[in-house]
């Protein structure tokens, strides 16, 4: 399942500039380290950002590495959001990491099942993840292990359902008539 990292970087950057080369070296280094942790690492091709897919079980390890390793130094979690794939019965959780020191961005994607979505919380690594994970729980219903304060953030505590899921319906919402 492992995609050779060199191929993917070359295909994404046909015209090579110094910046691109640097990025390629960075990505190679990154992928090597990630593969050591998780054999299922893949590069997500259809993205304008540098992005890798990892497996659910390796998430916390990978994130810890990315945060704490001085080669990567991803000190900010820009956003955490979810793509819903109802036909495949999965949800794809995306974490955009940002390094203020190295000016690099990396999108981490993890797939979870739609029925029992659960992920480890990364709020120990990035404090802002506490709110971002609450938002994702609120909108998609993904629960987080070891989250300090998991409850709905925007909607009322007694709200039924998770509105940003593709199949969300309620009586109140009107569909645009045309």
């Amino acid at each position: 399942m492992t995609t050779p990292p060199n191929d993917s970087t070359q295909s994404s950057a046909p015209q090579s500039t110094p910046a691109d080369e640097l990025k390629a070296i960075f990505l190679t280094c990154l992928l090597d380290s990630l593969i050591a942790l998780d054999s299922g690492v893949k590069v997500r091709e259809d993205s304008s950002l540098m992005s890798v897919k990892i497996s659910e079980s390796a998430l916390l390890k990978v994130m810890t590495l990315l945060k704490q390793d001085s080669r990567f130094d991803f000190d900010q979690l820009q956003f955490h959001t979810v793509l819903d794939w109802p036909e495949e019965q999965r949800m794809e959780c995306l974490y955009l990491l940002n390094s203020t020191k190295k000016s690099q961005e990396l999108l981490i994607s993890v797939s979870v099942s739609r029925e029992k979505p659960q992920l480890p919380s990364v709020s120990k690594l990035w404090a802002i993840a506490e709110w971002q994970e609450r938002e994702v729980y609120d909108m998609f219903g993904i629960t987080y292990e070891n989250h300090p304060d998991l409850r709905r953030i925007f909607l009322d505590d007694d709200w039924q359902g998770f509105p940003l899921r593709k199949d969300y319906q309620d009586e109140f919402m009107l569909r645009k008539p045309w």
Binding site: F154, L155, D156, P163, Y168, F172, M173, L174, R175, K176
Partner: protein, 214 residues
Amino acid sequence: MGVTPQLSKISQQSPSVFDLHSAHKKEGPALLTSIDALVNWARSNSLWPLTFGTSCCAIEVMMAAGAAHHDLARFGAEVARPSPRQADLLVVAGTIVKKMAPRLRTLYDQMAEPKYVIATGACAISGGPFIYDSYSTVRGAHEIIPVDVYVPGCPPRPEAFFYGLLTLQKMIRDGESLRRPGVRKAPVMAALPPGITMEDLRAELIKGAKGATT
């Protein structure tokens, strides 16, 4: 030569609270009527708004309208009260969502009579951009509290808000009375375009509502 385009006529002679004279009929003894008039004069000229704004409209309606260029103080309405107990005017400036709806109702209930409500902007009138496909936006403040004047716009200019304020002042002068506390007359159609009477409109709307229900 075709049909006169009515709408262009409307835009030329815009409906105006200044042009149309009051249709208010004097009732009862002259003394009481004049006391009524005095009371309504005082109430209409001393509309202290509640500092309340949820989103974009608050900038235009509560802030820019109160700022030096437009100056809400000219209407005696710059005394923005942060406590609903002392406010006369609730300007619903911005989107009201389901979570906010009970709070809006509370604010309204906490205000002392006589109290007036102006809904400004598309969101407060009908839900605006979020009227469809939004699971949380309430479609208009009138779903929660009685609204006296609607000021359309997204957001309305400060001048448009002043026009709304003048419309409300006219309503207070014409329709509210000391002798009927808490009961407000049916709205006075001051802002109707010329050539259209209240009766036409009412008939049409009743017809339409019947059509919609059946």
